[in-house]
Symmetry: T
Subunit: 145 residues, 12 copies
């Protein structure tokens, strides 16, 4: 059975592409999904790609991933900086976690410099836009088999 | 078509009037709704007035307002001080935002002195009770046309 | 009519027992429920025992308890450290509140040393595992009649 | 006798309209005065409208207002963030105080996020430009009779 | 031989009951001692119950407990917040420690929010008055045998 | 020639006695002046007793005292906590300075716990109301001859 | 019966006069005692004057004063900055407390700028050397009768 | 018409030369004025040289300079560290500003390390005594023409 | 001409593989070089791969890269957290910069949570060991052409 | 007469050797005493070696040493981090002081990184276990004669 | 023999003129050297003008200046904010030091607001571009003879 | 083969003896070298004694010591407080490290109170001048064999 990678997107990421296209480009979350699918196919893996604006729903999904996924890639959006509940869920999941952010958080407001997720993640990839998601898959290459 | 103002109320505001009436008075959230309706009518505007205890639902509604409303008036209650997700949604909405609070936050606990919302709002009105909501409508007079 | 104690459990507590049993033991949230039921019976009280990963749902339930419960025992999990909304709901509830934590928070990460709940709670019991829930019932003995 | 509202303007507000008109618009402090007069007339109130660059003169005027005014509307400009003397005068005045700022202070330098005045004010209105002064009058409607 | 529980009370706790009875009630430290004795009897344990205003004497007693007691219940009063010496003694004792406070420290001055004792204690019980001492005994039920 | 003591009173102290008499008593600044005069007479000293709401006027007077007074007693009111200019003037004056406050500043807001004046004062007397001014004179007994 | 004033001196104050006489002068603690006795006589009061290097002994004496003294004058020496136990004892004593220090603490190391005692004291007198003790007696004139 | 340079001196600078001459030397503010005049003459510029102890008067003069001066050289003395009003006036003036201090502020008390003026100044010159004023003129050579 | 990627390694990275192989594995810096060469070949790019323990030499090399390289990949080791000079050099270079770290810095000492480099980097990749270097190349795919 | 070195040991150091021998080794305080005696003999000095759990007793002994000892070697245990009284006593003693700690404090909890004693000590030796006491004697070789 | 002024330039200053000329202008470090030479000639002084990217080389040069130069003018670039070694070398040099910066550091990132050099410098000149170097020479006029 | 002790001296230590001899004495670094040689001889050890002003050269030498030395004694001078690179090199060296400083750092500027080296050192010896180096050798007696 192919490995299953759970890809979680937090609040407001559903607006990608539509929101200020002259700044963020026209890549939508769907485009990212397809980009990743292509890479996953090459690696022989399957994706479960989701988005939610609800902190609790993200916690539910991480708990689901605990029983069903081989690894978790997460861009928790605004919850990155405020959610101990997501941190606890990720720690309990006991799966390799890769944290992704589209923008370089360290060039933005100070409160975005702190993440509750990095301490339980394998590693962090930020600042490379949509490509960061594909790099996250690559980063799991030797870890998920 | 008349302008549409989205009015959002955060957690626990549904208790207004019922909770400690000897302190907060007997004005309910419904009373505020009707008070605002009267003012909106005078301005030739329509209101969409909602309340939720869910951070994610408020994010959903702001995203809805992004496509459908002309301005947003928000009293995010406790999420004012903790929600980066709501901040991000409001910034993405690209609508004039007025922040309202019933009480004077700066006379309460220190953690209430910081708001994630003010930096993306047009302005802030706090400390005037139910009347603050009507002032918020007035504040939009030249901005929403 | 017997007194009704509302027992609220926050995010990730549904994983208890299943998660890392060699560390946390094999006691599940259900086991805790039954343990408490036995004590409640002895005290002539009834329990309403719930768990949710949703911050807003916990707020809803506290508001429900405001009209229906005689006291609230709460282990808010990760929301303990981040939720002003739960704090506001508990204050509005005007019921005796006992805060419980399975682990000794003061031996963990610094951000777990601060709780938004303790200032509105009658008292705090932490570090005694499942037994802490039973102690919380005991602590209400003279207060709930 | 009609109610008397003392309107105080702090340092540099006399430059309004002349200073960087492409940014701040061409509304002068005189324009604001006339705008308020119209509203005051409608409310049956009288205004005493003043401006000073002197911290001590503002203290003097607040003390004068203590004996002669029914309420105080104040935009203390730069003294907002540094003057304990004005805070003390306002507290001693024992009148309803409304704090107004033309700009949204929370989008500017950090030292402008703290106000010595808000803790003794009824409420705060900021970010709505000249209109904020009129809203301040409105805010006093049920309080000054 | 029955288990021996050392119960230590720090400075000013000897004033209990006599001091401001309209606030703290008329329960004295002796009453607490007898309350605990009753519970200890039921558990088949023996108590050694002491009070001192001397930081050093409390250190001596903890060192004594290191060789003679099965567990330590401690309310260190004001030393809770300043005594590294007591912390060191408790750590050296290598016994289960339960920290008790009559009042909810987190509702008092900020300097009472930090305890040097909690990091070496099994757990913390605070805010339940005299009953907290009995709960502390209960909390040791499965630990002391 | 008798020694001359310059007594300076900062902003809002002219309101003493009139302001909230049920709290602050009915002692006015004039009463304090006369109380001090009696003591000064006994010591064979002369007083120059002044009050101003202007920071700069207080600086002027301290500079005047530099050439004309033997010692300075100062209650700088709100400027105590914000004025480096007064600090510099007092240091340049090279006279014995006694700092007086009617209330116990350390029981009020945190920003009142810091004084720019104490580091250049001989000593501080606070919390004894009008009597503090007389104590300040007494404190100078061996210093001014 | 004459009023009894308890005068407490903390650690190292027994060295006064002997320690670095070229700096601190040759006034000993005994000299201070006699100076105060003279003033006390004039006021018709009795003194109980003590010194201890033991934090706990000072707590004991404050507790004794609770039952026997009319007021407490305290120079807690180094314990001023670290002892919550003394703070608690003084609060429990419910007597007027005057805090005295020989030197101007605000001109010394930063850790001496904070006192645990001032918040429970009537007032503070510091920087006037031995004379400060006599001023403390004076300060109690209208309070102790 | 020759360029006009407004030179502003804040509180206590009028004491220069008279105050502690063995430390600060015997250079007076008048001497500085004449020193600058000589340099200004060489540059073909005119000076308007003023001193005030009043924060508000300095604000008035900066506003005057806004309409009449080509550049501003300012040594705001103690107001450097406390005056937002002067900062606002300087920003509104929209003229080149040079900040001067006689002493090296970074070798003095910590509160003198922060200046509200530097962020709106062209540059800062400090530590060179009276010569710093002449350097300030030189610094404007290519900027004022 | 193929694009040239400058790969810079800071202090102590030359020890890789030899240092604590049971922890860090046996991958040496040479192995990483060869791993990257393979990827660079596939992308049609050339590498210039260097290591230095000297802060200034790294600055020199970045300045060299300014004229000769198309992009910079940098793992500045310990200088990441302390070097403003490297930050300035990278900003002056005006090339795309990717920051890499072998370990997840956010799981180590607090002083490693801050990087002077991230604010001038395109993005950050950390926690994926040697693979992070290859991901860094991948991240440049659309940027370097 | 041979020089007399006062060696003071603070709280819990009497437990040395008995406490966790597998960690701290089996060296007791007595062993340290004898080790030092041997070195003292070689130097022609006499030791006065004491231990107390009482902060005040340590103050007493330092005061005794002021009149009788030539130098003081002190390991104040937990009081190192909280005792201003011991600091004051050491400063008053006017003897050379060497501070010793068995463990390397800078590798333990943050509150152990600050010592009230080091600023009044000649120097600090920490991290070398029992040998540190002997090094402390050596360090006094040229100072005590 | 003419006085010798050592002029030191830290990391990245060699890029001046070439780097972003539209922002920083086309003045190179060589141009500054020649500009200073002209001024030095007029003063009858000689310059030794150097630049290095190496912190240690700057330390070496300051030590050389200790024996050979009459004064030091230093723009330490990025090392200004991070180098205690340079601070120590400058203090040991015992020569008059003038600190220069091209830009106004107080309008840039917060970490540039602190300089290790200012506390050992005669004074600071910043924000006047290349002209600041010439002003630094002028500032030494009466000091170097 | 005799044990080899690497002794490293950081920036500005080459000036020892020549720099301010009236303060630091006339002991040079060479004298310290010879003093240590004598002690090393007695212990049967060999020394490798070096000094550099270059942070990177110190890193190089520590890496050399990793393969060749039995222990490292280091006085990193100014780099003590700023160098993570040296910290990393020392940790990688996996040798016993003793940190030495001539002066008592805790009596100097605050930034000298923090050392990056102590957390990886066996222990710290500071404040004993040249003798501290000999004590450092002594401290290694039982550790290096």
């Amino acid at each position: 059975m192919p490995a299953l990678i759970l890809v979680l997107n937090g609040p407001n990421l559903n607006l990608l592409g539509a929101r200020e296209p002259e700044i963020y480009g026209t890549t939508t979350l769907d485009d990212i999904h397809q980009l990743m699918n292509k890479s996953a196919l090459a690696l022989g893996w399957q994706l479960d790609f989701r988005q939610s604006n609800q902190e609790g729903e993200l916690v539910d999904w991480i708990q689901w991933g605990r029983d069903n996924a081989d690894a978790i890639i997460i861009n928790a959006g605004g919850y990155t900086h405020t959610s101990v509940a997501i941190l606890d869920a990720l720690r309990a999941a006991e799966k390799p976690v890769v944290e992704v952010h589209l923008s370089n958080l360290f060039q933005r407001e100070t409160f975005r410099h702190h993440s509750y997720i990095t301490p339980v993640a394998l590693g962090l990839i930020c600042g490379f836009g949509a490509r960061g998601y594909v790099l996250a898959l690559e980063a799991l290459r030797d870890i998920v088999s």
